[in-house]
């Protein structure tokens, strides 16, 4: 395992001290800022996370990082150094927004980001011939550079070979074999930084770089360099091809894709629901015990009926959210997502969607905000706007609590197709499909009206399959769980507080109002005519108003409203809803949520990415209209069917 425990000999081609006056080191000769650069999907963010102890998103497909992120190298013991993680680039040509970010930071043209004093160039050493092409333009920048050959453990395991000393000699820059995933070779990075930090060294330009850096000349240079450094390409992993011959099979491929998707929802219900119910019981009991200790006054009512009920009704969905993200994480990290993109491409193309839209749209299943950021990889501006417009239709995880609540309350727990698929999971699948369909149809509409320009081609690099890293999965789940609970503890808590307050005010004769006489009651009855055709009562209406902040807020609001109401005070939210809504109204509600843009974070990110209010305003209006009409049709249809 010589590659996994690289000896420091790899950087023995030690940088030579600069002759006085030969170069002007920045920052008085001390390096402070280091840029991480490399081609897409070579593991920059994995390394960034390891060196800084931060948690940037990593996954097994190109284009995960679309922004620059800075972090102090704390877990590396060098908090004095700032590391900048950059989007992956193939060259210094900037066709897309994310590549422009990388090049601007690298050249010191990015406002508010200090120009880097040194560069860590990360290359995937399994494909060194090709990856080395980037070394030519990067080394030409003339910054102190350490070349990191990542995934050295895999190179070793697959029978590949490289002479790091020879490569260092060829490049005129130190080279280190590392594995960012395993954490090997970090001491070499330390040596490099220590050397540069103390002596303020610069490099004599000893590498013979191609003079004209066209892709062809860079490629030729890269081949020469790698063959002179005894590079032996690793054997292509047979099992990736074998797996692909099944997973991309004409018949089995789409079938397996479908089974995977259904299985995810099935597990979210069959394992998630009991866990969620258990958590609910636990929280109800805990709330009862806690409030029992308080004197029986308005404070107790506020705490138990208002805050506890509201926040608890959202928090119980934690198990389902975590399960969903576990599956998304496994699919992303294994490399299956890129295959899913391949399988779905035909459908996407039929609706005029560009190949590059797929990854942003897929990530919208977690949350529309990173999805809209991910559209930066789309070069064509119109296509980018179209993808931003349709991304919020994809079913994000914030819809999950609303869907699960209504489905668990109204859809019987039955099996269809024998004992294979649950009815509840199927309804959930249908709702996801509904959102996807709305996205596709909107794309089609935009395609014929807006996007007549030539489209960017579909170029998809299929990463090799690999086992998801349990550490990275666990950290992602932890972060997701924390984010969810934080939202419950801030936005949802605040809304619940306001809703409770408005549901007992104004004070009459020294006592609280009844629910129907309260501010909320009046407001609710005032808006009821608008939403009655959809099958929603006034409480749902208040929930809808509050959910403009964020979708899951409606669950908290309903928890509070039904908690305050003496008629439903003791019942669970599910039971309360079952008695208070028709089937038509309930299904109309989830249809409304499938279409509506109830999310201030999304509105804010669209405003930021498009530099104006026009698009988010248009988008919000359009999606709300579609949602209203969709809910109206659903309710009327179900009413007539089941009358």
């Amino acid at each position: 395992m010589s590659c996994c425990t690289p000896s420091p000999v790899a950087i023995e081609d030690a940088p030579v001290a600069a002759q006085p006056g030969s170069a002007q080191p920045r920052n008085k000769g001390r390096i402070r800022t280091i840029a991480l650069i490399g081609p897409p999907n070579c593991g920059k963010s994995t390394l960034f996370n390891r060196l800084t102890g931060m948690r940037q998103k990593v996954a097994n497909y190109p284009g995960v990082t679309v922004e620059h992120h800075s972090g102090r190298m704390k877990s590396f013991g060098r908090p004095d150094l700032t590391l900048i993680d950059l989007p992956g680039i193939y060259s210094l040509a900037t066709y897309s927004e994310d590549a422009r970010v990388a090049v601007d930071v690298l050249k010191g043209n990015m406002p508010e980001v200090p120009a880097p004093d040194a560069v860590l160039l990360v290359l995937d050493c399994l494909h060194l011939n090709r990856q080395l092409m980037l070394a030519a333009p990067i080394l030409s920048l003339g910054l102190p550079t350490l070349v990191l050959l990542n995934m050295a453990d895999l190179l070793d395991a697959r029978g590949g070979k490289i002479d790091p000393l020879g490569l260092a000699h060829e490049l005129g820059h130190p080279v280190a074999l590392i594995s960012a995933a395993q954490g090997t070779g970090m001491d070499l990075i330390r040596n490099f930084l220590d050397q540069f930090g103390e002596f303020a060294l610069t490099r004599p330009g000893s590498a013979r770089l191609p003079i004209i850096q066209s892709p062809a000349s860079c490629r030729k240079w890269a081949s020469q360099v790698s063959s002179r450094s005894q590079f032996r390409e690793p054997e292509s992993p047979l099992w990736t091809r074998r797996l692909d011959s099944v997973l991309l099979h004409r018949v089995w491929g789409p079938l397996i894709f479908l089974v995977v998707v259904i299985a995810v929802f099935q597990v979210v219900f069959s394992i998630g629901q009991p866990l969620s119910d258990g958590l609910g019981d636990l929280l109800t009991r805990a709330g009862g015990l806690l409030t029992a200790m308080l004197p029986d006054n308005w404070m107790r009512a506020l705490l138990r009926d208002g805050l506890w009920n509201g926040v608890q009704s959202v928090v119980v969905f934690l198990p389902q959210i975590l399960l969903l993200f576990l599956f998304i994480g496994i699919l992303e990290d294994s490399g299956y997502l890129a295959r899913a993109a391949l399988i779905a491409d035909r459908v996407m193309r039929a609706f005029g969607l560009n190949g590059k839209s797929f990854i942003p749209l897929l990530s919208a299943y977690a949350c529309a905000v990173p999805a809209i950021m991910a559209t930066r990889t789309i070069e064509n501006k119109r296509e980018r706007l179209a993808t931003i417009l349709i991304a919020p239709f994809m079913t994000c995880s914030a819809r999950l609590p609303v869907y699960t609540l209504i489905i668990a309350a109204f859809i019987p727990d039955r099996h269809i197709f024998g004992h294979l698929v649950g009815l509840r999971a199927s309804v959930m699948l249908g709702l996801y499909a509904l959102g996807f369909l709305a996205a596709l149809l909107t794309a089609k509409m935009l395609n014929s009206r807006v996007m007549k320009a030539s489209s960017a081609p579909f170029v998809l690099e299929l990463p090799q399959y690999r086992w998801p890293m349990p550490r990275s999965l666990a950290l992602r789940l932890y972060d997701r769980g924390k984010l969810f609970l934080k939202k419950a503890g801030t936005v949802i808590l605040a809304v619940t507080f306001v809703v409770w307050g408005l549901s007992v005010l104004p004070v009459h004769h020294g006592g609280f109002s009844q629910l129907t006489d309260s501010v909320v009651g009046h407001l609710g009855h005032w808006i009821e005519p608008v939403i009655r055709p959809l099958g929603f009562n006034w409480k749902i209406g208040i929930g809808l108003l509050s959910s403009v902040l964020a979708r899951e807020v409606i669950v908290g609001t309903l928890g509070t409203l039904y908690g305050v109401d003496p008629a439903t005070h003791a019942a669970s939210l599910q039971t309360a809803l079952r008695h208070d809504m028709t089937l038509g109204g309930a299904i109309a509600l989830v249809v409304f949520f499938a279409f509506a843009m109830q999310c201030t974070s999304t509105i804010a990110v669209v405003r930021r990415e498009t530099n104006g209010w026009k698009l988010p305003a248009l988008q919000f209006t359009y999606m709300t209209c579609v949602a209203y009409l969709g809910a109206l049709v659903t309710n009327q249809f179900i009413q007539h069917m089941f009358r």
């Binding site: 090709r130 892709p215 390409e233 011959s245 035909r346 170029v459």
Partner: protein, 82 residues
């Protein structure tokens, strides 16, 4: 012949890319350069896009793009064809 006309299992040598610069530039960095050897690995279940093996990596292209890339079939492939 056009890359899109190659059959699964055939291999050849890439000759020209008649695509806009930004596209051919991107493809060049994935290994699509004149003289590179390329193999057709498989088609997506719907028949398009197609997965090619070039320069040690697998890249999928729609036929609408592969149409503008010309290749010279390797001799072995030509024999299989006849």
């Amino acid at each position: 012949m056009a890359l899109s006309d190659m059959r699964v299992g055939q291999s050849g040598t890439l000759e020209t890319l008649e695509l806009p610069e930004r596209v051919s530039d991107h493809l060049a960095h994935l290994g699509f350069l004149p003289g590179a050897s390329i193999e057709v690995l498989r088609r997506a279940p719907a028949g398009d896009p197609t997965v090619y093996r070039i320069d040690g990596v697998e890249v999928a292209l729609r036929s609408e793009t592969a149409r503008y890339i010309t290749v010279e079939l390797a001799d072995a492939s030509r024999e299989i064809r006849q």
